[in-house]
C-alpha cells in the first residue's frame, strides 16, 4: 500500500528515457545535417501536439469529459505569444526605417508606424486595445496562461454548474470554438481577421541567429515541456485526485454522495487542461510561423480527440503515441511524399484519401481495439480483460466470477 510514486507509475521512467534519447538523437542528426531544419520544426510541433493530447487524455480519458473545444485554447495561447512576436519584430523594423529619416523618432511615431505596419492589411492604422500589453514579453506570457485559463473557467463554470454532461457538453464546446473562430475571422476583432499573425518564426533581436539554431531551441523547449507535463500529470493521476476524477468518469452521482463537489473537480480539470493546451500552443505557433482563425475550426479539436482515441484513452503514454503517430503520418501523407496508387479506373491520391484512411482507422479502433495503440502494451504484458460483452460479474457465489476475473 505504501508504494512510492515511481513504482506506481512504471511508465514514467521509460517515457522520460525515450524522450531524452529521442531529443539527443534529433539534436545530433540536425547538427550533422541528417535531417532538415523544416523537419526539426515538424518534430518540435509534433511534441507540442503530444502535449495537447496529454491534456486531452486527462480531461477525456481520466475525467470522462469529452471536450471538443480544447484546440481553441491551443490557438489562443498561440495568438497571445504571436502578438508579442509580431509587435516586437515590427518595432525593430519601424525603428530601423525611422533612423534613416534624420530626426530622432518620437515614441508616438514609432507606435503609429507599428500600428500601420501590422494593421494596414485590414485597413486600420490604430493599435486595438487588446494589443495594450503586446510591447511587453512578460505581460504577454502571463496572458498566454491567463486568457485561456479565464475563458475555460467562465465557460466551464457556466456549463458544469448547469450539469451539462455527455454529448451536450461536447456540442457546447464545439459551439464555443466555432464562435471564437467566427469572431476572429472578422477584421475588426483586432487580430488581423483571416490574415492572422505571421512571421512568428523570426525572433526579435535574434537576426544573427540562423533558423537552424532557433528550430532546435524550440524543439528542446517543446521536449522539456512535454517531459515536465508528463511528470506532473503522472503524479496527479496516480494519487487520490486521479482516483476521484476516474470515479467521476464512472459514476458521477455516487461521487457527489461521497461528499466531493463534482462540478468543482470538473472545473478544475477543465481549466488545468486548458492552460496546458495553451502553453502547448504558445510553443507550437512560433515553430509554425503563422496562425489564423482557421486553427480554431471545430475539426481541429475533433482531431485531438481522434489522436487520443487511437493512442489509447486513460493512459498518458497512449495519448502521446496517438498524437505522434497520427500527426506524423498525416504530414507524410499530405506532404505529397506518399506514392499514389493507380487502380486503372481511378488513382488513390493520398493527399485527398488520407482523411478517408484516418476516418477508417478511427472506426476500426473504436470497434475492434477500444484501448487503442496503448492496448498493445497490455497485450505484451499479458494483461487481459475478461470479455463479458459488457455484462457485470455474476450476482452471487454460484457464478464464475472468480475465474472470469482472473482471466
Amino acid at each position: 500500500m505504501t508504494r512510492s510514486f515511481l513504482t506506481r507509475t512504471p511508465s514514467l521512467l521509460i517515457f522520460i528515457t525515450c524522450l531524452a534519447i529521442f531529443t539527443i538523437f534529433v539534436t545530433l542528426a540536425a547538427h550533422t545535417g541528417l535531417i532538415s531544419t523544416s523537419f526539426v520544426k515538424t518534430l518540435g510541433k509534433t511534441l507540442c501536439l503530444c502535449l495537447a493530447a496529454l491534456a486531452m487524455d486527462l480531461i477525456w480519458g481520466y475525467a470522462g469529459i469529452l471536450s471538443l473545444g480544447h484546440m481553441a485554447f491551443f490557438a489562443l495561447g498561440g495568438y497571445m505569444i504571436g502578438m508579442w512576436l509580431m509587435y516586437a519584430r515590427t518595432e525593430e523594423i519601424v525603428v530601423a526605417s525611422l533612423m534613416n529619416s534624420g530626426l530622432p523618432a518620437t515614441p508616438e511615431e514609432i507606435q503609429q508606424g507599428i500600428a500601420s505596419q501590422i494593421f494596414g492589411v485590414v485597413g486600420a492604422s490604430d493599435l486595438p486595445t487588446i494589443w495594450s500589453f503586446a510591447h511587453s514579453l512578460p505581460l504577454q506570457l502571463i496572458l498566454v496562461v491567463a486568457l485561456p485559463g479565464l475563458l475555460a473557467l467562465i465557460f466551464g463554470w457556466l456549463a458544469f454548474r448547469s450539469r451539462v454532461t455527455g454529448v451536450y457538453l461536447s456540442i457546447l464546446t464545439q459551439a464555443m470554438t466555432l464562435a471564437l473562430a467566427l469572431y476572429l475571422f472578422q477584421n475588426d476583432s483586432g487580430l488581423r481577421g483571416n490574415n492572422g499573425l505571421s512571421g512568428l518564426q523570426n525572433l526579435p533581436g535574434l537576426d544573427a541567429v540562423s533558423q537552424d539554431s532557433i528550430s532546435l531551441w524550440f524543439f528542446w523547449a517543446s521536449a522539456a515541456a512535454l517531459g515536465l507535463a508528463y511528470l506532473t500529470l503522472s503524479w496527479i493521476v496516480s494519487g487520490k485526485f486521479g482516483s476521484v476524477i476516474r470515479a467521476i468518469r464512472d459514476d458521477e452521482a455516487r461521487v457527489r454522495f461521497l461528499g466531493y463537489s463534482v462540478e468543482g473537480y470538473k472545473l478544475f480539470v477543465f481549466t488545468l487542461t486548458a492552460v496546458i493546451v495553451a502553453l502547448a500552443g504558445a510553443l507550437y505557433y512560433p515553430q509554425a510561423g503563422i496562425i489564423n482563425p482557421a486553427e480554431l475550426a471545430p475539426i481541429a479539436s475533433i482531431y485531438l480527440a481522434v489522436w487520443v482515441a487511437i493512442g489509447g484513452r486513460g493512459r498518458l503514454y497512449g495519448a502521446v503515441i496517438g498524437a505522434a503517430v497520427v500527426s506524423l503520418l498525416s504530414s507524410w501523407f499530405t506532404g505529397g511524399r506518399a506514392p499514389s496508387i493507380p487502380l486503372g479506373f481511378m488513382t488513390i491520391n493520398w493527399v485527398d484519401w488520407w482523411q478517408v484512411l484516418l476516418g477508417a482507422a478511427f472506426v476500426c479502433v473504436t470497434l475492434f481495439a477500444p484501448k487503442g495503440i496503448g492496448g498493445l502494451f497490455d497485450h505484451f504484458a499479458g494483461l487481459h480483460s475478461p470479455d463479458r460483452k459488457g455484462a457485470p460479474l455474476g450476482p452471487d457465489q454460484g457464478s464464475l466470477q472468480e475465474k472470469e476475473a482472473i482471466e
Binding site: 500500500m1 505504501t2 496527479i236 494519487g239 487520490k240 485526485f241 482516483s243 476521484v244 476516474r246 470515479a247 464512472d250 459514476d251 452521482a253 455516487r254 461521487v255 457527489r256 454522495f257 461521497l258 461528499g259 466531493y260 463537489s261 463534482v262 468543482g264 473537480y265 478544475f268 457485470p392 460479474l393 455474476g394 450476482p395 452471487d396 457465489q397 457464478s399 466470477q401 472468480e402 476475473a405
Partner: protein, 247 residues
C-alpha cells in the same frame, strides 16, 4: 431526546402527481428504522429529498443539533454534513481497487487542492484495514472492486459509507440479490452500525425487516400510514388493506 433528522410537512409533486404528500418523519441519533411500503409509496423520493437530489415543493428538513436546513445544501455538502446513502444497486467504482474505493470514502478534506496535496498516513491504512475487517473484505484489499461478488460489493459500499463517518445512513434495499448467508451477515452489520449512529433501511422483504427487529414506518401514497414495531404495524387494518391491495 432531540432528534437527529426531522422531516416535517414535506410535499413533492412531479407534473401534478404528489409523490410525497405532507410527510413527517424523524429519527434519533442512534436508532435503527425500517421503512416499508408498496411500490410508488415514495420511499426512494424520501431518500432523494434527504440527500438533496430532489428539492421539495413545501416543508422543512433539518439535521443535527443546530437544526441545519438541508434544503439549501448541494448533495456534496449534505454528504459532508454527515448523511451517507447506499443505493439499491451496488455502486462501487469497479475499475479501482478495494483500497482505492475506501480511500476515496475516508473522511478527509474534499476540495480539489486539498485532495491534490493528500498523502496517505499510517492512520489511514489502519482505518482502511479496520473497515475491511468489519465487512469481511480483508483479503480483497488489492483486488479491483469489479471482481467482487454482488454481496461483497454491497458490503464494500457499506464500508465506504462507514469510512465517511456519517451520522445518518440511508440504506436502500441492502438485501436485494443476496444469498441467505449474506443476508444474515448484512443484518448483523446494520444492527451493529445502528448502535453508534442513525440508520434508515428501506426494504421490501418482510423477512429481512423482521430480522432487523426495529421500529417500522409504513409509507403509502407519500405519507406515513403507520409506525411502530413490525408486529404492531402488521396488525394495523390500513396496512393490511394496502398490502393486500384492498386499499
Amino acid at each position: 431526546m432531540s432528534q437527529l433528522l426531522e422531516v416535517s410537512g414535506v410535499t413533492v409533486s412531479f407534473d401534478g402527481f404528489r409523490a410525497i404528500n405532507n410527510l413527517t418523519f424523524s429519527i434519533g441519533p442512534a436508532e435503527l428504522r425500517a421503512i416499508i411500503g408498496p411500490n410508488g409509496a415514495g420511499k426512494s423520493t424520501f431518500m432523494d429529498i434527504v440527500t438533496g437530489k430532489t428539492k421539495p415543493n413545501a416543508g422543512t428538513v433539518t439535521f443535527g443539533e443546530k437544526s441545519t436546513s438541508l434544503l439549501k445544501l448541494s448533495e456534496a455538502k449534505i454528504a459532508r454534513a454527515g448523511v451517507g446513502r447506499k443505493f439499491q444497486r451496488p455502486t462501487v467504482f469497479e475499475d479501482q481497487t478495494v483500497t482505492e474505493n475506501l480511500t476515496l470514502a475516508l473522511k478527509a478534506a474534499r476540495s480539489p487542492w486539498r485532495v491534490l496535496a493528500w498523502r496517505s498516513k499510517p492512520a489511514d491504512h489502519t482505518r482502511i484495514a479496520e473497515l475491511a475487517q468489519q465487512v469481511g473484505l480483508s483479503d480483497h484489499l488489492p483486488r479491483k472492486a469489479g471482481e467482487l461478488s454482488h454481496g461483497q460489493k454491497q458490503w464494500l459500499e457499506i464500508a465506504m459509507l462507514l469510512a465517511q463517518e456519517p451520522r445518518l445512513l440511508l440504506v436502500d434495499e441492502p438485501a436485494a440479490g443476496m444469498t441467505l448467508a449474506e443476508r444474515e451477515k448484512t443484518t448483523e452489520l446494520l444492527v451493529d452500525i445502528a448502535k453508534t449512529r442513525a440508520v434508515v433501511v428501506v426494504e421490501h422483504d418482510m423477512e429481512f425487516v423482521r430480522r432487523l427487529n426495529c421500529r417500522v414506518t409504513v409509507l403509502h401514497e407519500g405519507s406515513v400510514l403507520a409506525e411502530g414495531s413490525l408486529d404492531h404495524v402488521t396488525k394495523n387494518k390500513d396496512v393490511i388493506d394496502v398490502y393486500l391491495g384492498r386499499g
